[in-house]
Amino acid sequence: MQAAGDEGALQQPLPPGWDEAVDLEAEPAVVPDPVEVEVPSELRAEIEGLMTKYPDRHSATLPALSAAQRLHGSCSPAAIRQVAAVMQVTPAYLSSVVTFYDMLRAEPTGSRYIYVCTSVSCHLSNAKAVHDAIWEEARDQGLEDVEIRQFECLGGCDMAPMASVDGRYVGPLGEDDAPEIVSALKEGRTVLPGRSLEDPGYKLPWDESPRPPLDATAHPDIHPAGGTVVHPDNEELDR
């Protein structure tokens, strides 16, 4: 598990090589000879299939790296070398891409993930506390091989605070959901059944109850439905 949860900022490990001096004696990385690199046949087939989908094979870079990461757990030097051999590009080009995108990881951080959104709308709903609760719970229960991190806006602001567990959007979350999320992951169960965007019939809690009628008596500040729109510089306000 990645040591996140402390400090306020998003914790990201330094990219490989960041704090190492350049080895000037080393041979320049070249496009690997396909004969020399052993590539698992499923991965090779997947990448070759991806390359045929685009007019330019380079376009398959992101999905190919994603596939390699799924197989190897991270875009490790070995994984990058395999992709480079199939795509016939340099490993340096691939690692430049890996270090740019948030969902591609150069270091092994876990085969599963919990991204807790802490961007603007979730921040307003106290998402940091939810993240910290999940992180502490994971530590206490000894959850391993799961990456837990704060993530930028996941596009689930209506269900804030929310998290993406391996792509499964769950929310709205409270700190008291942390034990269930962690133990479900630990035991391989579905995380929070019925509370994910992808569950059939999923409803936000407030959509269960009908909305109060939109009339002037219930909401004195609201214009009567269908009323004329008021400009602030218009003297004759008719509210």
Partner: protein, 442 residues
């Protein structure tokens, strides 16, 4: 004015994902109309007449954008921008998850208008569920002959690929999206040349947002006049508005543009929690300058939001209630843009970083009110000086917060300084005490 059910029609049906159900409800008829009853110029002029403006943020006329593509036979591309990453925005997620075929049909019709023969839907990698749904919808459309060579035995051919991003806000910027799609780091490009002339693989490219392409389907199905009958003169058509933040019923609401912000925030979204009021609100995602409570009475349109000093952007309202301190919000916002800055342009890369540091300084009690001037200057030096508007997207809301709530920032600075001085005094006397104890009695 109440909610509409046009773009969001039938979204309560789970079986709408199946192409058969979509066809039963009138789906793919607009495509037949565009293929057989109209020529490409008519499709284009219908889109121009509708007054449809891009729903991704910039609000540029969709028809005009499509008309910029050169004519003639060459490889032209259509890209659907489904990299919805703007904080506060989740409308495209709904449209793709609930009615993927409308988007697919919109893409095909868009390709007829632009003369494009290859298309890509660039969807953010985090939306894996929605991407799976789109994959299935595209496969079904191929099976029925709506995609591929000579669509429905017409002269038009169009292929469509769902391409998943891997987590980068900047890929929502159109030229960065193209770089991401070409398999590179998502860095924005220098414009001009604009993508309409030199875009994907250096070919002419039309890039449109998900909701824009869904509207394209509606316009061809029901006509430009019908589309114009909704909204205001310069902001036509239905619009899905995401409302989130400090409201009781956050969600997506489809309305006519021209409804007031108050109706959206208080009427549809239930307003802030009981006993609280609206302190400020972002009308167009987190990149839009904040507006105040009094601006809620303005019509929610491209032109009125611009006149009020903000922008409609993605039309995603984030409400901040009066119990929220602004400094942590400003800091969170600045951290977001620092994290997402691609680092290509110096003003953005350094400006976002220093803004974060200066906001942290306030909290640590090291700032003076003069820091606010410096911070405002930093924002001024970012705006308009980069290849894309990511830096501006931090500079504008932060600048507007300092402008509207200067007193609160100054109070925060004073309070933090005082707290720090007290702490220093306490630690100093404790140290002195320790030294005195060690020295022993004189």
């Amino acid at each position: 004015m109440t909610e509409l059910r046009i773009l969001t029609e039938h979204t309560d049906r789970d079986d709408l994902l199946q192409i058969g159900v979509y066809e039963e409800l009138g789906g793919y008829r607009a495509l037949r109309k565009a293929l057989f009853d109209m020529d490409p110029e008519q499709v284009l002029s219908e889109l121009e007449e509708s007054g449809l403006r891009g729903r991704g943020g910039a609000g540029f006329s969709m028809g005009k954008k499509a008309s910029f593509l050169p004519k003639g036979t060459m490889d032209k591309y259509l890209c659907c921008n489904a990299d919805e990453s703007e904080p506060g925005t989740f409308k495209d997620r709904l449209l793709m998850q609930k009615n993927p075929h409308r988007l697919v049909e919109g893409c095909i019709i868009g390709s007829i208008a632009a003369g494009a023969n290859k298309g890509f839907i660039f969807i953010r990698g985090e939306y894996s569920h929605q991407a799976d749904i789109l994959d299935a919808a595209v496969a079904e459309a191929y099976e029925r002959g709506y995609l591929g060579d000579r669509i429905l035995d017409s002269e038009h051919s169009f292929s469509l690929v769902v391409h998943r991003g891997q987590g980068a806000y900047i890929c929502g910027e159109e030229t960065a999206l193209l770089d991401g799609l070409e398999g590179k780091r998502g860095n924005p490009r220098l414009k001009p040349p604009f993508p309409a002339n030199q875009g994907l693989y250096q070919g002419p490219t039309l890039i449109n947002n998900v909701e824009t392409l869904c509207c394209v389907q509606l316009i061809i199905e029901r006509g430009a006049d019908w589309f114009r009958s909704m909204g205001t003169e310069q902001s036509t058509g239905p619009k899905v508005v995401s409302v989130s933040g400090d409201v009781q019923r956050p969600g997506n609401f489809e309305v006519e543009l021209g409804i007031t912000g108050r109706e959206l925030v208080y009427g549809l979204a239930g307003g802030p929690p009981d006993g609280r009021g609206v302190k400020c609100w972002f009308p167009g995602g987190s990149s839009a300058p904040v507006l105040l409570e009094e601006h809620l009475d303005l019509p929610f349109t491209y032109e009125d939001m611009a006149q009020a000093g903000s922008m409609l952007g993605t039309a995603s309202i984030i409400v901040v209630d009066d119990a929220q301190p602004l400094l942590p919000l400003a800091l969170r916002l600045a951290e977001f843009y620092r994290h997402e800055s691609c680092g290509k342009c110096v003003p953005c890369r350094e400006g976002t970083n220093w803004t974060v540091k200066m906001l942290e300084r306030i909290d640590e009690g090291e700032a003076t009110p003069m820091d606010l001037e410096i911070m405002a200057q930093v924002q001024e030096n970012i705006i308009g000086n980069c290849l894309c508007v990511l830096g501006d997207s931090m500079a504008m809301p932060i600048g507007s917060m300092i402008q509207h709530f200067r007193q609160e920032f100054e109070d925060h600075i004073a309070a933090a300084r005082e707290r720090r001085q007290l702490e220093e005094a306490a630690s100093f006397s404790a140290g002195e005490l320790a030294a005195a104890v060690e020295a022993g009695p004189a």
